[in-house]
Amino acid sequence: MECRNTIQHSNVPLFYFFTMDILIYGIVNSFSLALMAIGFTLVYGISRLPNFAHGALYVITGFGVWWFIHKLHLNYALSIILALILMGLIGAGVYRFVLIRVRGMATSEIIATYALGLAILEFLRWRGFKGMTYTLPVFIEGSIQIAGVPIDLQRIIVIGIGIVVISFMWLFTHYNKIGLALRGMAQDEHAAMMLGIDSDGMAIIAMAIGSILAGLSAIVLLPLGNIVVEAGYNVLILSIAVCIVGGLGSWGGAILAAFMIGFVQILTVRYIQSHFHMVVALLAIILTLILRPSGLFGRQKELEERV
């Protein structure tokens, strides 16, 4: 049934073509994963809060922008900005009213955020956001060819925004006062508190930024397809995968992990079978936790994580 022979009989440029296509779509996939995961990584890195509502925040931003455009008839750009501001407020609110009470108890945090995520997603379903006809328009129409590989402009925007966000976060946490405070919290909470950095205040800011990043990734990635509630679960699992493989608390690790998982997924699809697309992510989590819980660059101390 499968005719891989046709490919092997082809001449050299075709082989080159395939490597280019893996490279390009691998990069796109990796940046998508990185964008999805960076919000989750941020919140976990800074306040050790696994935010299981991350997927829900992603989805609700998508529907929010859709609602602004179609029901309030606002301009696309304005809707995006409004949605992002709203997400920041929601994120801060979630911490201030819900998570602050369960801070420190890992299980309760997971359950509280998971329940919140579930409530948000099911609420969206109830409100009628079901079916496959909710979409967001792409930013720029059209597609181009890079080295013989056709790619649409929206995906190039994904790469672009990915680079911008990553650089911005790096600059923010290295040169901005608040960013440095966040980084300090991530490195050593107690030392930071001794220096007068307010743990709860930082956590609120972290949650707000994390939610905005979740929203941003939604805005950039959702025009590629449609907005469905089920995407929330997938985004959550992928974010956890990236975060864990990269090492909880390390942003460099998370980016690297995003690339690793992104390319492995594309390679698996290309050379083995597209079957295993999601299994890769799940196995990555399990293998990392078993072999090297601190992930690639995690800064957790050896004793804290395993006996």
């Binding site: 299980t107 099911e122 078993i290 994580e305």
Partner: protein, 345 residues
């Protein structure tokens, strides 16, 4: 700034004091059998629980609600396992679905392909399910805290995808035509008896020597290690017990619905036991049980609201976590054993 300082120098006039009740003190030693009152104090709550559980199917008329009780008992087994692992051994396992799935598939395979009847498949599935789960979780056992939690959360998802991708064991259709129970009464009471035994068995276990080791592992595993005991061994025993309970539930599930499939690895089976433990009160073993008996029927009641049901459900869960995170049982036990009063300072 001056205001703050002033507040600090304000003296409090009364404080709340909590003391053990007289009757509790009296029942602690041999004086427990000195009068009916003391005996009742000790025995009554347990008696009410057992009688309540046993009489429940007889009292509830509707067949549908009887079925809900069976499902609740399956969740109760999972919740017991979760509470045991989390609060007595220190392992937060979010993988209840994993045990159910493994147990369910084992029972279905033993029944369909090997041809054994439910009376044999259930114990066999429990045992083999526990072995399989423990072996698969073995590499993850050294992990602590949140890491173990996430790994166990991922296990059922991964295995469901693997079964789907490799299309083994019936693939997405599942295994059908699994035998059911001979009569409704057996179906109903087997699980209730199992739950009662599991509950009291575990309570007994945690008070034995081995229970002490478990608690040591939870509190300070380095100390246990320093005593020359292998932590991994004890953790495996604990996981064996908990996964055995879960597999039992899974095998039972396969037989009452006469089917087994990848949806037995569903996330719901992981989340509800945790929710029940939170609501019912962790660390008490009976709390999660009551939590299930509260949560599952409420969830069924809420079906009338359609999709909004899950929203309400999650909100209840969040409310409990935020405001009453100690749980109902812990609160109840405290009230039962102790009383509070205002005392002048």
């Amino acid at each position: 700034m001056a205001e703050k300082y002033e507040k600090v120098t304000n003296t409090i006039e009364r404080r709340k004091e909590r003391l053990d009740r007289g009757i509790k003190v009296r029942t602690e030693g041999i004086y427990a059998i000195s009068s009916l009152e003391e005996v009742a104090y000790l025995v009554l709550p347990r008696l009410i629980l057992i009688m309540g559980l046993l009489l429940l199917p007889a009292v509830i008329p509707s067949l549908y609600w009887k079925r809900v009780i069976s499902i609740t008992c399956i969740y109760a087994l999972l919740a017991l396992g979760f509470d045991f692992l989390a609060n007595f051994v220190g392992l937060v396992s979010l993988g209840g679905a994993f045990y159910i799935g493994v147990g369910g598939y084992m029972a279905a395979i033993l029944n369909k392909y090997v041809g054994l009847s439910p009376i044999i498949t259930i114990p066999l599935a429990t045992f083999s399910g526990a072995i399989i789960c423990t072996l698969l979780l073995l590499p993850a056992l050294p992990l602590r805290g949140v890491y173990f939690a996430i790994v166990t959360l991922m296990y059922p998802l991964a295995i469901a995808r693997i079964i789907e991708a490799l299309n083994i064991l019936g693939g997405t259709d599942g295994i059908l035509g699994v035998a059911g129970f001979p009569t409704r009464w057996i179906e109903q009471y087997i699980i209730i008896l199992i739950v009662i035994f599991a509950l009291f068995g575990l309570r007994r276990l945690v008070n034995e020597d081995i229970g002490l080791v478990f608690r040591g592992v939870k509190d300070n595993d380095q100390a246990v290690r320093a005593s020359g005991l292998s932590i991994t061994l004890y953790k495996s025993i604990a996981v064996f017990i908990a996964s055995g309970l879960g597999s039992l539930g899974g095998a039972y599930l396969s037989h009452i619905y006469m089917w087994s499939g990848i949806s037995q690895f569903a996330l719901d089976f992981s989340i509800i036991p945790i929710a029940a433990t939170v609501i019912g009160g962790g660390g008490t073993l009976v709390g999660p049980l009551l939590g299930c008996f509260f949560l599952v029927p409420i969830s069924e009641f809420l079906r009338a609201f359609g999709t909004l049901r899950i929203v309400f459900y999650s909100l209840i869960l969040m409310a409990f976590i935020m405001f009453r995170s100690e749980g109902v049982m812990v609160y109840a036990q405290r009230k039962y054993h102790q009383f509070e009063r205002w005392v002048k300072v």
